[in-house]
Amino acid sequence: MRVAAAPVAVNEPVVFDLAAAGLRALNAALAGLTATTNQTVWRVKNPRGEHAIAVGVTAPVCIFVDGPVGYYCAGMNDGADITIMGNAGPGVAENMMSGFVRVTGDASQAAGASAHGGLLVIEGNASARCGISMKGVDIVVKGFVGHMSAFMAQSGNLVVLGDAGEALGDSLYEARIFVRGRVASLGADCEERPMTDEAAAILAGLLRRADARAEVGDFKVYGSARKLYNFHVDHAGHY
């Protein structure tokens, strides 16, 4: 596969056959892109559920992955616009710094884990621990999320158009969680909060950017009750 050698016009997609050239060649080619590259559109054929596809991309390019992917796809993304045409395995867009990742199908557990920035949009459902320990990323899930979503989430916004599983927002720090559907249960120190103008504006902006057809007024917002931030002597007996 002579990706770098082939002359490619601006915005002409670079077609990369993962089954033929292999994962390391793909990630090396993507890692070699500069901010001013002319190879701005990539199409990855035959992903076949492989792990770690398009990780650590730092160039502002568009990448389309033509099918289901395995673990950690688009991990550590920093500025790229990555679309997965199918389902994603565990840890999609984990530790994303900036950019945009879209999954057209479902995502497995720990989608967007520890991510610092950017926007992750999941058109289908996300399994358990979606947004675990998120640190500034925005995540929009158009279906449901599994149990323990936004566990220890520190900042950023998780928007769920469907239902949320058990223990939503357990041990939450300062992330916001918006849910339109039913919440099975809230985790420790997570509580419903008033929908402020600021929160409503953030939600409206995310719904628009995610191309999600939903009304702000149909959502509830959840946040930290901040009771776990400090040791409280009256709770000593609970430890």
């Binding site: 076949r48 559920g49 492989e50 099918g67 289901p68 992917v69 395995g70 673990y71 199918g86 389902n87 395995g89 565990p90 199908g105 479902d106 497995s108 557990q109 399994s127 358990a128 599994g146 149990h147």
Partner: protein, 293 residues
């Protein structure tokens, strides 16, 4: 780690391909379990006969054994499957113990044949001739040992009842306690392995009259630890994940089959996968398929 592959065919036209499809899935799962592999295949029943899967030492003369027992035999490397007339089952089992103590009974059933060995999945599949096997459903496992040693005894599937088998990704924390209770109920165990206890628990439930889906529901209340189980019976195929659901699981369903893989990539070559309904089985929910015998 560990990898699980399961295939339950709805379309009988695919039955000749069952072994080849299962072998391909196990091959992909080598990275999740390189130390041992095993599989159970539900093939054609022989009315009036019980199939007993056996394991002998290397180069054991199964032909001579079968002649002495007066049964038909099909030899697969260090395993063999004998077809025993139902009325002679007790006699043959007794003779096996008395005259061939070096031969281990791996499993038995009207349809199920079970093979497992230490080594890379491709090598294990090849040794036993998995590619040529046919049937309605198959369950396979690639093992990365965590709870007990890399031995044939620790390899999956485990079978603790006729036509019943179970494979497991995970580890159980209360298996010693459950094993003691099941022994009091008359169940017998061959190893100290946690997965054998899960298989024994389901067999005990089935023996007490539960249906497979009910037995899996009871397992949720009893077994503590991490698990994704795939189980087989003569006509059924079930999946269960623990409530925390750390261990991966992906399923694909088409008009022709239901497939289970620890990861999607194990199923990437199945026919019609691009149009399959792909989903992740939910935690603590019993999934179960059955077909007419």
């Amino acid at each position: 780690m560990c990898g699980i592959a399961g295939l339950f065919l709805k379309n009988r036209a695919l039955e000749p391909e069952l072994g080849a499809m299962t072998a391909a899935m196990l091959s992909v799962l080598t990275s999740r379990g390189p130390d041992s592999a095993g599989f159970a295949v539900y093939g054609q029943a022989m009315p009036g006969f019980l199939k007993i899967s056996l394991r002998g030492a290397e180069n054991f003369d199964f032909g001579a054994m079968a002649a002495a027992l007066d049964v038909d035999v099909s030899v697969h490397d260090d395993h063999a499957v004998i077809a025993v007339p139902l009325e002679r089952e007790a006699r043959v089992r007794a003779l096996l113990v008395q005259r061939f103590p070096e031969v281990a009974v791996v499993a038995s059933g009207a349809r199920m044949e079970l093979f497992k060995g230490v080594g890379q999945p491709d090598e294990v599949s090849k040794r036993f001739g998995l590619v040529g096997m046919t049937g309605s459903h198959a369950i396979g496992h690639t093992r990365m040992a965590t709870e007990s040693a890399v031995t044939i005894a620790g390899a999956h599937p485990f079978s603790t009842g006729a036509d019943q088998c179970l494979v497991h990704n995970g580890s159980l924390s209360n298996h010693n306690d459950i094993r003691r209770k099941l022994i009091k109920e008359g169940m017998r165990f061959e190893t100290q392995n946690d997965t054998e206890v899960a298989a024994g628990f389901l067999s005990w439930q089935l023996r007490e009259g539960a249906k497979l889906d009910e037995a899996l529901g009871a397992a949720l209340d009893t077994l503590d630890g991490f698990y994704t189980f795939v189980v087989g019976t003569e006509t059924g195929f079930g999946v269960l994940r623990d409530p925390v659901a750390c261990k991966p699981a992906v399923m694909a369903e088409t008009d022709d089959y239901v497939a289970f893989g620890s990861e999607y990539r194990a199923m990437a070559d199945l026919p019609g996968i691009a149009d399959a309904h792909l989903f992740e089985p939910e935690p603590a929910r019993v999934y179960f398929w059955e077909r007419a015998a």
